[in-house]
Amino acid sequence: MGCTAGGAIVYNPTLFCFRRATRFFMQQAPFLEVKDLACERGDHRLFSGLNFALAPGELMQVQGPNGSGKTTLLRSLCGFVQPVQGTVHWNGQDIGEWDDDFHAEMCYLGHLNAIKDELSALENLQMSAGLAGYTVSDRQAVAALRRMGLHRREHLPVRVLSQGQRRRVALARLLIGDAHLWILDEPLTALDVGAVGLMQELIGEHLSKGGMTIFTTHQPLQVAGIETRQLVLS
């Protein structure tokens, strides 16, 4: 754990202990806060002066035409993209200073499914869980896949599944983790009506447990009893 001072990484034991202690004693509700964020792609300024906060139980949809920076925004929340200006804070702390602890509390699902054609759906799910730092039993993984509507497809190589079924395998990752923050980039791509309904249900459950979700989609996505906050990039 280090913090940045004048460009150099220095170890600061006091801050480290303080941060851990604060988290332990106060059990503060997690929250995401974006202040004055600006991102560029190439030399092109995508957006600037972006401010918003996301609290537990909140759902936010990022909207905007193609090329308006929706994906870049979500990737900057993960720390993949360095913003040219502004900060992204998790629980009041810059995500750059969280190191890997922040990653344990979030789940990102991008355009790419991050699944291997050669492995079965079950193996894929267990490997994804492993890369995220935990193990799941066969039973848990099978249950998650069945919930995603992949009954009796668990042991087939993903190669033989359809695009929609592959997306379901990728989405099953959300069910086995305990991330607070879901960052979903076009989660509904290639999904049929039934699966879209299922996603709405899953997001609803996640929010009711105190989770938060930020997503992009061009399809309507409504979660019963929860108002979707809109963030429009132009």
Partner: protein, 227 residues
């Protein structure tokens, strides 16, 4: 849901890459067949003079091993990059260096280890003495991990570039020259009636040095490539 320890994670990445390679065997076999072919071409081309063959044996085997390991380098991260797994690896709550070390280990088991194990059979074509064959295997076992480790940095830096394959070789080959010199030197020392200990010790030192630094450097290179 149980937390995974660092060693658990390392094991998982190695297991995963080996499993993937087993389901896609051609990649592994290409490297091995390339190595066998290149080494076998020399006795055919140079002619069957035992003295000359014995002299050039270790050099030929080492150069072929170097080229064969370059062959599989571009694939080290590219498949994971293409299907988005690399993104998820960078979001892993553990250090990326551990994941990279796991990938390096798997890469060595699939490219370096088979070469070292088959080398004695190829050495027979060059009329190498039994003692020289042992030293050759030992030197390869110590040296090929270094090739995989240095190669990982090159593979990470050229990720997603067009024509990255050639670029990796241009970046990595010069850095591998010390390994080549001391690896081939070990066998020559034995042939000359001297002890190969100093050469092997230096190879071992290279390996330990690379083991400490390269996973970290390759992880940083991956971060740069992903931005």
């Amino acid at each position: 849901m149980n937390k995974l320890s660092l060693f658990g994670l390392l094991g998982l990445v190695v297991r995963r890459d080996l499993l993937l390679a087993m389901r896609r065997r051609t990649d592994v076999l290409t490297t091995l067949v390339f190595f066998v072919m290149v080494v076998s071409l020399f006795p055919l081309g140079v002619g069957p003079e035992p003295d000359m063959l014995r002299k050039m044996a270790s050099g030929v085997v080492w150069v072929a091993a170097l080229l064969a390991s370059m062959l599989s380098l571009p694939r080290m991260f590219s498949a994971d990059h293409a299907d988005g797994t690399l993104e998820q690896m960078m979001l892993a709550p553990q250090s990326l260096s551990v994941l990279v070390l796991g990938k390096i280990l798997a890469h060595w088991m699939l490219s370096g280890l088979p070469l070292a194990l088959i080398a004695p059979v190829l050495g027979l074509q060059f009329d190498m003495s039994p003692q020289a064959l042992w030293i050759l295997v030992l030197a390869l076992l110590l040296g090929t991990p270094v090739l995989s480790m240095i190669g990982a940095i090159g593979a990470a830096l050229t990720l997603g570039l067009r024509g990255g394959g050639v670029l990796v070789s241009l970046l990595v080959l010069p850095l591998c020259i010390p390994v080549l010199i001391f690896g081939a030197g070990a066998v020559e020392a034995v042939n000359g009636g001297m002890s190969a200990v100093s050469n092997l010790a230096l190879l071992g030192a290279f390996m330990l040095f690379a083991l400490v630094f390269t996973p970290f450097v390759a992880a940083q290179a991956l971060r740069i490539s992903m931005e």
